[in-house]
Every structure is written in structure tokens, then in C-alpha cells.
């Protein structure tokens, strides 16, 4: 099997695994970063959201070969010590319940704020609609994004 290199949270990683393996499983089962979650395997729930060269992607639907040589940021690399404004807002409002979807929610929200520092409710709907939460924390997620953006 060929070796593939990619940069994960600033560190170059070389893995030897089938190149069609989705990035999700490379992160979780090969590299050992389990903060990125498996929810549907079909790009429908957003639990596996990571940043690929800064853009949000569903890592369950990105083959390793497509991530080769590129920069991947996972929830573990979003900030040191939960310092990202969104993480602080999530803590302030106690957004998570079971918490399982929240890595993906945070990565999707971080990508939103990076390109749109003051999103409207409609912007939040558009950016976050791909991320399912079965505990129903949407209202607090919306409030936390506004809080992190410097709003209410």
C-alpha cells in the first residue's frame, strides 16, 4: 500500500492505508484523533466536519487521496486550550448535551465566522443546515455563534 502524507493540525503525518479510505477513518483509526465523529458516512449529518485548507468538508466523503499534501484542521486543532471564540461561547451557553455532533458543529461554525465575521440568522441557517443535532441544541448553537461574533 502506498504511503500518503498530509498535514494535520500543523503536523506532517504519513500514513500507509488504502488511498480511497475516507479522511474520517484515517483521522480516527490510523492517526488516533477521535474528536472527529462518524455519524452517517454519507455527508448528510456533518458530525465529521473538518477544514481542508481552511474550507469545511465532510471528512467521511473525502478520500485520503484527495487530502494528500493538504492541510487538515480537526477539532483538536481548532485552538489551544479551548481558546477559540466559538469554544468559549459554547462553554458560556452550555450548548452541548450529549455532545457527539458538537465537533462538527464547531468546525462548521468556525468556517462560517472565518469568512463572515458577523453572520445573520439566515447566514447561520445556510452554513449550519448540514449539521444535525439529535439533542436539539440548535437554538443554543445559534445564540453561541452570535455571541462569538460579538453580538448578543
Amino acid at each position: 500500500m502506498p504511503a500518503t502524507s498530509l498535514v494535520v493540525n500543523g503536523t506532517r503525518r504519513t500514513v500507509t492505508v488504502a488511498p480511497d479510505t475516507p479522511l474520517l477513518w484515517v483521522l480516527r483509526d490510523v492517526i488516533g484523533l477521535t474528536g472527529t465523529k462518524f455519524g452517517c458516512g454519507a455527508g448528510q449529518c456533518g458530525a465529521c466536519t473538518v477544514h481542508l485548507d481552511g474550507a469545511p468538508v465532510r471528512s467521511c466523503s473525502v478520500p485520503l487521496s484527495a487530502a494528500a499534501g493538504r492541510r487538515v484542521t480537526t477539532i483538536e486543532g481548532l485552538s489551544a486550550n479551548r481558546a477559540h471564540a466559538l469554544q468559549r461561547a459554547w462553554i458560556e451557553l452550555d450548548v452541548p448535551q450529549c455532545g457527539y455532533c458538537q465537533s462538527g458543529q464547531l468546525m462548521a461554525a468556525a468556517a462560517l465566522l472565518a469568512r463572515n465575521p458577523s453572520p445573520t440568522d439566515a447566514d447561520i441557517d445556510a452554513a449550519m443546515d448540514g449539521n444535525i443535532c439529535r439533542c436539539g441544541t440548535y437554538q443554543r448553537i445559534r445564540a453561541a455563534i452570535h455571541l462569538a461574533a460579538g453580538g448578543a
Partner: protein
């Protein structure tokens, strides 16, 4: 467990067991404590749940599973309150499945109510022993000493000693049999909004769920089951699976049956593909060529006919007051309606999974489970090992909702590990998870109501046709026709709160091959929809306002009235609405004794149905953490709204048609209504809040839709109705 037992009794039995364990263990623990007197490392541990160490550290072994409902936070605050320490001083550790912790069943919204008494008692015992130790040390009366912030203080002299310093003396004292519980008037923590303890690890990826378990030498496995319910895989060709890169083994699991106490577990004839990583296991599983009997197999239309036919025969009576038939016959106006709701999947965010390691003389199971006790018993039965040789590690779980009370995924992992002799994590794909759930039962309801000449509701009948959940799990001791099965299926129907002189409720059990299970709020999710939607039909027939009619029927139920009025007032009940908009209300007393009323506001227009706002009022007794109560209401409303608008599992050829979130859709951010939660002030004991927000939601929305469109709703989901 007693044999004839309903779910509610089962929950209550779990309560009793937990309390009993504390009581039974006191002498043993007291003896241990006395034996430890004066020794280094002495600890004070009046119950299995609690330990105060000689360095002052307080450890609380959490005997319930955390699935997002907040038990880590709220239960540890009960400890901090009663023991008089700061919440931060309480170290929470997940209990093992050791029998000393009692039954750890986590469901039925029972965690707080079942531990409310035993936990406070254990902490009060420890506190009194520490106070007694201070008094003994200083040669003063215990009545002159108080506990505060982890210290004992002699008020008159101002002398203080830390709990840690007092542990060696305290642990030698007799455990008080009747400790005085703290007066709620003096609560510092309980009743006030609190911060969750588990938020930080849930925002940086460090929280560890079932799928995040990593054990040295572990491998991963995927399972192929027969997609047709009630059948097994009869043969398979694993050669292509074995040739898949990363696949290590293909294991055939024989069909069988496992009896554990009252529970009968069907072991499916299945095939497991074992691989180096999850993806390779999934790909290998797809490459399997499996055979099963493909003829026939029931579909949803057939089932609907069977349900309707069954409703023509009388069922097991759950309640019979006055004379319902005469009441209906003499009524001026009679209303009759039928209601249908579908099977529903749980669709937890984290698909089913479990990690097991079976080796000679030992079994370890890492399970995101709502029933660690049952996991241990299942592991014992499958391996033949003694209790002491089985370790169960309860992990965090990505949603429970009743699905993680089941054992199918636990059994998978233990069987595969036993077969290959290695630690293995069995992971279900989302498709497997949706197609092999224990579904919320479909049900058919027939309701009749009679109004007299003054518009008073004088007669009511409700017939429930549904598969029995308890009979599915314990068919040998609790068959579908048993009183326990009727009691369970009529929850919310037989205990109708409305004062109606002639009332009859019965249950028609029905057997289908579809596995059924406990789903957030269980049968109340169906019965409350039927009750409350039907009551609005009755109100329309009588020309009455739905809130005013409910007030009349609940006149003798002050708790109901307070909740109803709070929701109606906060929602602005009666204020005008634009064309195409509607407002609906529903109220339900859940079996946890919490009462919830919800008012939904909807818009029905060119873009379809949108729920704009839900106003929720709850009486849950003393709201230990109002912030978390609100979170549970928000969560229950969203879970119920997904089901009400979109949820339906349908069958074709005996197998589930839906496979992932594209055809089993759930609520998303852009569809989220504004949710407002209002809590009734109460000093009563706390009632569980994990489920009670679910039942009133669907009827509140249905009633709002009826107002907006002029067409009443008789089936769910609304988007397809």
C-alpha cells in the same frame, strides 16, 4: 426483578434496588470504616456511591449513564449540596457494573427521582459523621458544630477542621440511621441555574464516546444481518470480503437465543467482517454475498390493515368508569376519529457500537449503554464467566433515547471478540443502525367522545392497537395479552387526566416481526397525540375554545391547571393570528409526574408547514437546575418535532426502506422554531425531565395546523399526511 412488571414498575423497582443497596451495604461499609480507624489512607464511605478521603477529596461514583441529559452535573450537585462542599470539590467517576452500585438502568426520566432520596441520605450520613468527629475531637456537643464548605466549624470557639483531617475519626463512628436531610430552604446550589460539568471536553474533541474507545491490539468489525425481520442469514460467501484490503477475518455467527432473567434475546444468524480499521470492515461487509429467504415479507400497507382489523375486537381493559357505551348513546353529539402513527427509529447521532475483549477467565466490555447492569449480565451469560470476571466500562454516548437500553450491539461485540480472541470494536453503519433498530411501535387509535346538550364532555373511549414493547423483550413471562403489556401500552391513555364520567380505555396487542423498543417518552408519544388532537376535535364540535374546555375538564387538577394557564398566558393564547397561521395547545402528565403544556405556532403557506414558535410550561417539582430543565425541554421538543413533521419507518418485503438521513430526515437548523421554556415554581420533590417535553409537541402542532388550514390531522408525520 419480579416477573409481572410494567416499565413503570420496572423503573420503580430499579429505584427500590438502588435505595436498598445503600441500606444493605451500610453495615459492611461501617465495619470497614471502623476497621480503618487510625490507619493511613482511611476513607469515609457510608454508601457505595460516596467516599471522602483523608486528603479531603470527595469522590462520587455516578451510578447512571450520561447521554446528554446532565446527570454528571445535577447528581454531583446534589452531593455537593447535602455534603456541604463546593461542586468543584466533588470528583465524579463513572461507576462500574459492580452489583454494589445497584441497578444502573438509566431511562424513564428516573435518574434524579430514583437517587434523590438515597443520595441525599448517604451524603447526610457522611456529613453528620464528620460533624460528630469534629465535636468528639474538640470535646463539644455536635449540636454546636456545623458543616460548611468542606470543613466542620465549632461556632462558639471559631475552631475549624477540614473534612480530610476528620475522616480517620469520622470513619470510626456509627453510621447514623436517620440522618437529618438539609432543609431545601437553605439550598445554596439546587434550584439555581448551574453550569454543566461536561461541556469543556465536548468542545475540544476530548470527550470519549463508545466509538472513541481504543484498546491495545484492538481490531474493528462490521456486521451483516438479514434485512428481513424475523429471518436469519442462511449462508454466505466471504471470499470477496476477505480479499478487501485491510480485512483480517470473516466470522459466521449462528442463530440462537439467549435468556437473561426475564429477557429473551434473539441472537441473529449474522456475519461479521473483522478488519484493521472501521472503513475496511465496512467495505468488506459490503463485499459479502449473503443468502436468506427472500420470499414474502410484510409491508407497511399490510400492517396498517392488520392494525385496523384488530381495532374491531375489544382489547384488554385499562380503565373503565361509569358506562361509556350508554354515555355515548345518550350524547347529543358524538365524535369518532381514528389516528395512526408510524414506526420510528431512534437515530442517535452516534451509531450503535461496542468494544469487547473476551479472553480466558476475563471479559471487558466498553459500552455506551443505558443499562450497564444488563450488559454485565449478558456478558456473563455469553461467556459463562462469574460476575467478578466481567468488567463493564460505561462510556459517554452520542444520544440514548431508549435505543441504548437494548443489547443487540453489545451481544455482537462479545460474540465477535469471543470468536476471534482479540479486543474488537463493532461499529454499525448508519444504514445498519436505521434498518435494525428496536423501533417506537406504530399504533392505531380509535377515539369516541360524547357531548351532552350543554356541550359537556360526558363519555370517552380510546382503543389502542399496537405491538407490545415489554412482550417483545420478555415474551416468556410478559406475553402481549398480559396486564403489564396493557399497562405499558396504555400509558397516557388509561391515566387520562380529564374528568369525564363515562370512560373506557382498552389495549389490543398485535404481533409483528418488527423489533420494537423504548423511545423517548415511549407510548405517551402516541397516546398523547391521539388524546390531545381528538380533544380539539371535540372542542370544535362543541364550539368551545380548546383551552377553556381543558380548564373545565381539569378543574380538579390544580397542577395541570397551573401549567396549562402558564403556557397559554405566555403564548398569548387568544390573540389574533394572520391568515395561514395557527396556534395549538396540548398538555400531558408524564409518568415521571412532570406535567408539560406546549403551545405551537405554525405557518402553512406556499413553502409548506413551518413551526415558528413553541412555548413550553413545565411543573417538574423542584427544578434542581432550571438551565438544564430548559435544555431538556428544548431537546425534547426538537426530538418530537422531527418525528411529528418527518419521522416514518416503513416496510417493504419485510425490510425497512429508509437507510440514512436523506430518507429518514430530522429537524435541521433552518427549521428550528423559537422555543421558550417557563417553569412553575414548586417545592415538591423533583420529577424527571428527560422525556416529558415529547408527548405534547405533536398534538400541539397538529392542533395549530388544524386552525391554520381548517383541516384536522389524523396521522403522523404531518409532512406526509
Amino acid at each position: 426483578m419480579p416477573t409481572e412488571v410494567s416499565r413503570r414498575e420496572f423503573v420503580k423497582a430499579g429505584v427500590a434496588v438502588s435505595g436498598l443497596v445503600v441500606a444493605l451495604q451500610l453495615p459492611a461499609y461501617a465495619r470497614t470504616a471502623v476497621g480503618a480507624l487510625g490507619r493511613q489512607g482511611a476513607t469515609l464511605s457510608p454508601s457505595a456511591f460516596l467516599e471522602v478521603a483523608s486528603d479531603g477529596g470527595v469522590t462520587f461514583w455516578l451510578p447512571r449513564s450520561e447521554m446528554g441529559q446532565g446527570v454528571w452535573s445535577t447528581l454531583s450537585r446534589i452531593v455537593a449540596e447535602e455534603l456541604e462542599v463546593s461542586p468543584e470539590a466533588v470528583r465524579v467517576r463513572q461507576a462500574s457494573a459492580d452489583p454494589k452500585f445497584g441497578d444502573q438502568f438509566t431511562g424513564g426520566s428516573s435518574s434524579i427521582s430514583s437517587l434523590w432520596q438515597p443520595l441525599r441520605r448517604a451524603c447526610a450520613q457522611a456529613r453528620e459523621m464528620l460533624v460528630g468527629a469534629g465535636a468528639r475531637t474538640w470535646g463539644v456537643s455536635a449540636a454546636d458544630c456545623v458543616a460548611e464548605q468542606g470543613e466542620v466549624l465549632h461556632s462558639a470557639s471559631g475552631r475549624r477542621l477540614s473534612y480530610g483531617a476528620l475522616v480517620p475519626v469520622a470513619s470510626a463512628l456509627a453510621v447514623p440511621a436517620a440522618p437529618a436531610l438539609k432543609d431545601p430552604k437553605h439550598y445554596r446550589l439546587l434550584g439555581k441555574p448551574a453550569r454543566r460539568r461536561d461541556t469543556a471536553p465536548k468542545v475540544d474533541g476530548s470527550a470519549s464516546y463508545g466509538l472513541d474507545v481504543r484498546v491495545p491490539g484492538m481490531v474493528f468489525a462490521c456486521i451483516a444481518r438479514c434485512p428481513v425481520f424475523g429471518r436469519s442469514i442462511t449462508g454466505s460467501d466471504g471470499s470477496r470480503a476477505r480479499a478487501t484490503p485491510g480485512v483480517l477475518d470473516v466470522v459466521t455467527l449462528e442463530a440462537g437465543e439467549l435468556q437473561v432473567g426475564d429477557f429473551t434475546f434473539q441472537l441473529p444468524g449474522a456475519v461479521a467482517v473483522v478488519a484493521e480499521n472501521s472503513w475496511a470492515a465496512m467495505r468488506g461487509c459490503q463485499a459479502l454475498d449473503c443468502h436468506w429467504d427472500r420470499d414474502g415479507g410484510v409491508d407497511s400497507e399490510q400492517l396498517a390493515r392488520i392494525f385496523r382489523d384488530r381495532a374491531r375486537q375489544a382489547g384488554v381493559l385499562g380503565r373503565n368508569e361509569g358506562d361509556a357505551e350508554s354515555g355515548l348513546a345518550s350524547a347529543t353529539t358524538m365524535v369518532e376519529r381514528t389516528y395512526d402513527v408510524p414506526f420510528l427509529a431512534h437515530a442517535t447521532m452516534e451509531p450503535m457500537n461496542c468494544t469487547a475483549h473476551v479472553r480466558a477467565g476475563r471479559c471487558e466490555v466498553y459500552a455506551p449503554t443505558q443499562s450497564p447492569t444488563l450488559v454485565r449480565q449478558v456478558a456473563e451469560a455469553l461467556t459463562g464467566l462469574e460476575t467478578a470476571a466481567v468488567d463493564v466500562h460505561t462510556t459517554l454516548m452520542g444520544g440514548g433515547f431508549g435505543r441504548r437500553f437494548e443489547m443487540d450491539w453489545v451481544i455482537d461485540s462479545i460474540r465477535v471478540s469471543k470468536a476471534i480472541g482479540r479486543p474488537v470494536q463493532v461499529v454499525w453503519t448508519r444504514e445498519h443502525d436505521l434498518q435494525h433498530d428496536n423501533y417506537r411501535p406504530a399504533s392505531h387509535h380509535v377515539l369516541r367522545g360524547g357531548l351532552d346538550a350543554q356541550g359537556k364532555l360526558v363519555a370517552w373511549t380510546h382503543r389502542v392497537v399496537a405491538p407490545s414493547i415489554i412482550a417483545w423483550h420478555a415474551p416468556k413471562v410478559l406475553p402481549p395479552g398480559s396486564a403489564a403489556a396493557a399497562d405499558e401500552a396504555l400509558d397516557g391513555a388509561a391515566d387520562l387526566a380529564y374528568a369525564i364520567p363515562n370512560l373506557r380505555v382498552d389495549y389490543c396487542p398485535i404481533s409483528t416481526p418488527v423489533p420494537v423498543g423504548w423511545w423517548r417518552s415511549v407510548f405517551a408519544s402516541q397516546t398523547c397525540f391521539a388524546n390531545e388532537t381528538f380533544l380539539d376535535e371535540v372542542a370544535r364540535a362543541a364550539g368551545r375554545d380548546p383551552v377553556e374546555l381543558r380548564r373545565e375538564l381539569l378543574a380538579a387538577s390544580p397542577r395541570h391547571l397551573a401549567v396549562l394557564n402558564l403556557a397559554a398566558d405566555k403564548a398569548g393564547w387568544g390573540s389574533p393570528m394572520a391568515a395561514g397561521r395557527g396556534r395549538g395547545i396540548a398538555i400531558h402528565k408524564f409518568f415521571s409526574d412532570a406535567i408539560v403544556a406546549e403551545v405551537a405556532e405554525v405557518t402553512v403557506g406556499e413553502r409548506g408547514l413551518r413551526v415558528d414558535r413553541v412555548v413550553c410550561a413545565i411543573d417538574c417539582g423542584l427544578a434542581l437546575d432550571p438551565r438544564n430543565v430548559a435544555a431538556q425541554m428544548e431537546g425534547g421538543i426538537v426530538y418530537a418535532l422531527s418525528a411529528a413533521l418527518k419521522g416514518a419507518i416503513t416496510l417493504e418485503g419485510g425490510r425497512v426502506k429508509q437507510s440514512n438521513f436523506h430518507d429518514y430526515p430530522v429537524l435541521r437548523m433552518s427549521e428550528m422554531p423559537t422555543v421558550e421554556v417557563h417553569i412553575v415554581e414548586s417545592a415538591e420533590a423533583p420529577h424527571g425531565v428527560g422525556e416529558p417535553a415529547v408527548p405534547p409537541l405533536a398534538p400541539a402542532v397538529a392542533n395549530a395546523v388544524a386552525m391554520a388550514t381548517g383541516r384536522s390531522v389524523h396521522r403522523l408525520p404531518l409532512a406526509l399526511g
